[in-house]
Assembly symmetry: C3
Homo-oligomer: 273 residues x 3
């Protein structure tokens, strides 16, 4: 039996909305310590890695490691029934679900129970699960040349702006700053961030750790997909190295993360040099 | 001559927006005591019944009973010209409209005059009327097994949520509570309201009078249409009986109502038992 | 060299959004005293005349009179990158752009530099210019029979409302007031403004100078296009004369204007008499 309760449904809603256009069917791995998910996007270019540690949940019980295969489109439909402040209980019963009132003959399902503690109302949404091959890709440990942290909304706006001009996003970073460039037929846009001198407002700061300079190109379409996770976190962390996939990471309340990995575009990079 | 004035145009605007997708051409019956409307939807499945009593109007004068046949689409266009807080005067002249300045040769029309008392501005919108057969259906007096009152926004959200999963809405009500169920291929959703224990906030309460339990099914598409009237009223009243049309009623400022009648779906009900 | 700086990008953004659906390619004439633009719409029915005087700019330097040919669609894309409160620097380099870092080999371009003084961030957007024939139409001096000033939002709403009923906007003005009429198959709308008696709130007043009465008809489609400039100014000024193009003028912070000229519809006018 698996049973876990989140204090508010909004968190899970934001996670699913962030990744549902990238990943269709998601195999959630539930263990004693965390609920996690690793999946390639459908064109096998980007990798999504999600970890929700026990600390994020109000209650969490997982008797044995299980894999919950869920259509993210259906999960999104279920979660849209919840108000953001409703509590969200997830329950999975074993194959003979003698306690399960509504879905007796339907095999394995997950039940989302949304409740507003201030109302005499509960909402049970039952969604069928499916078999999904869980492919745990070993992500090699990597020492990144540049780590940049910035407001998530800034990164989102920059990616959106540059997509007006180009399909490719060039990122160059030195100790002097990080520069995002999009170049195309109608013109070009160059956004330059210097490391923040003003440290009064930490949530607005741009911080930059540079071991050696990088100059890499990415598909801007994928970056725009990733930035749907902006709702999840005030800050985003970019970990960069030449010729190595970038990691775009959104921390989740200090007890988890949503990470996107994307390989650089090799051809464009040569053209830019 | 018919002349009636509402303190704000917003009320009439909300009424027309609530029913204009259900009923195309509306025969408004104006008598000394009320302006009312009864009409079937175009597929003759649902019945709309509207009553606006004299008490709702700032001024009201109706010399003889008349029937105003109006395209609700055109009426909606006229009302969109008004700001919600503008006063709204309705005027209908007799066939020789000697006092009617703008439409002298155009036969029977209704004039909506919108005015903002704070401005030196008036807006007269003239809309042509049409002959519509008014079919006054005798609605039989009915003793309902269950009467439930709840926040209109709650009922709207529940219908919208369940429509994600199903075309049919099952309502079961007992003294213990009222349960709305939508069941479909991708899953199901069950929303349960217990009669409110907390009576601090009356507008939020769910109240339930149960003479005998009911278990009925309705087309959720129609229910979603009805809930467009949510803007009209904080509360909605559902009157239910097995094998009898439900009444979904939105009271209008204690001097009128907008009621929707919808027959149950018989087949589905058998399947559910 | 041309270099000019606006205190906030929002102003230029609003101007471009106001005219970009009317004029595709815009020849901006920059002189020592002002940046201006005159262009016919693509169907040569309406004329746009824009003037931004030096006083609108924080800094302004124009060594010699130059013409900047810009696609307004591309200019709009560039400006969408700016936040409204960002400063906006425009720079044009001469043909051998030795100081120009990003576009070395690309000939004449304009660079928009957006900066938020509170952040360590700059955004340079480079947009290619094009050759556009600048046709300076001598607009004859005209003594108008009626000049009406009113809240820009009022004029916008009136045009939008009347477009529901008609393709033509009739304007009649006398000392008693100004009347806007739209007449069509489903009905008609007549909006009457009396000169404001209440002069407490000047921005809300309707003022009317009438030398002799006018009665003119215009294409309402064009009027609706012009009212996109409502964002630019609280007030609009209509200058009217029988058989002469109307001027719809939006003042820009006392140091410029955006004017639209539109010839009356002659046929309809005859029909109305």
């Amino acid at each position: 039996m698996f049973e876990a309760k989140l204090a508010n449904s909004g968190l899970l809603k934001k996670i699913v909305e962030s990744i549902k256009d990238l990943v269709t069917d998601a195999p959630f791995d539930c263990s004693e310590t965390a609920m996690s998910l690793q999946a390639m996007d459908s064109s096998h270019v980007a990798l999504v890695s999600l970890k929700l540690e026990v600390g994020l949940f109000d209650t969490y019980r997982c008797d044995r490691t299980i894999n919950l295969g869920l259509s993210l489109a259906n999960m999104s439909k279920a979660l849209k029934c919840a108000n953001n402040d409703d509590t969200c209980m997830l329950k999975v019963f074993s194959i003979s679900p003698i306690f399960l009132q509504y879905e007796e003959n339907e095999g394995d399902s997950i039940i989302f129970t949304f409740a507003d503690p201030k109302r005499d109302k509960t909402q049970d949404v039952t969604v069928k699960m499916m078999d999904i091959d869980s492919e745990h890709l070993g992500i090699p440990e990597q020492d990144y040349a540049v780590v940049c942290e910035m407001p998530a909304a800034e990164f989102q706006k920059t990616c959106k702006d540059l997509a007006t001009f180009s399909d490719s996003l060039n990122i160059t970073a030195t100790k002097a700053g990080i520069v995002f460039t999009g170049k195309g037929d109608i013109g070009s846009s160059v956004v330059t961030y210097s490391p923040s001198s003003n440290t009064d407002d930490e949530s607005e700061a741009v911080t930059l750790e540079v071991k050696e300079p990088v100059n890499v190109n990415f598909s801007i379409k994928y970056m725009n997909q990733f930035t749907k996770a902006t709702a999840l976190s005030d800050r985003v962390r970019l970990s960069l190295c030449n010729d190595v996939p970038v990691v775009v990471e959104y921390p989740i309340e200090e007890n988890g993360f949503l990470r996107f990995y994307l390989a650089p575009k090799i051809d464009d990079e040569e053209n830019m040099e």
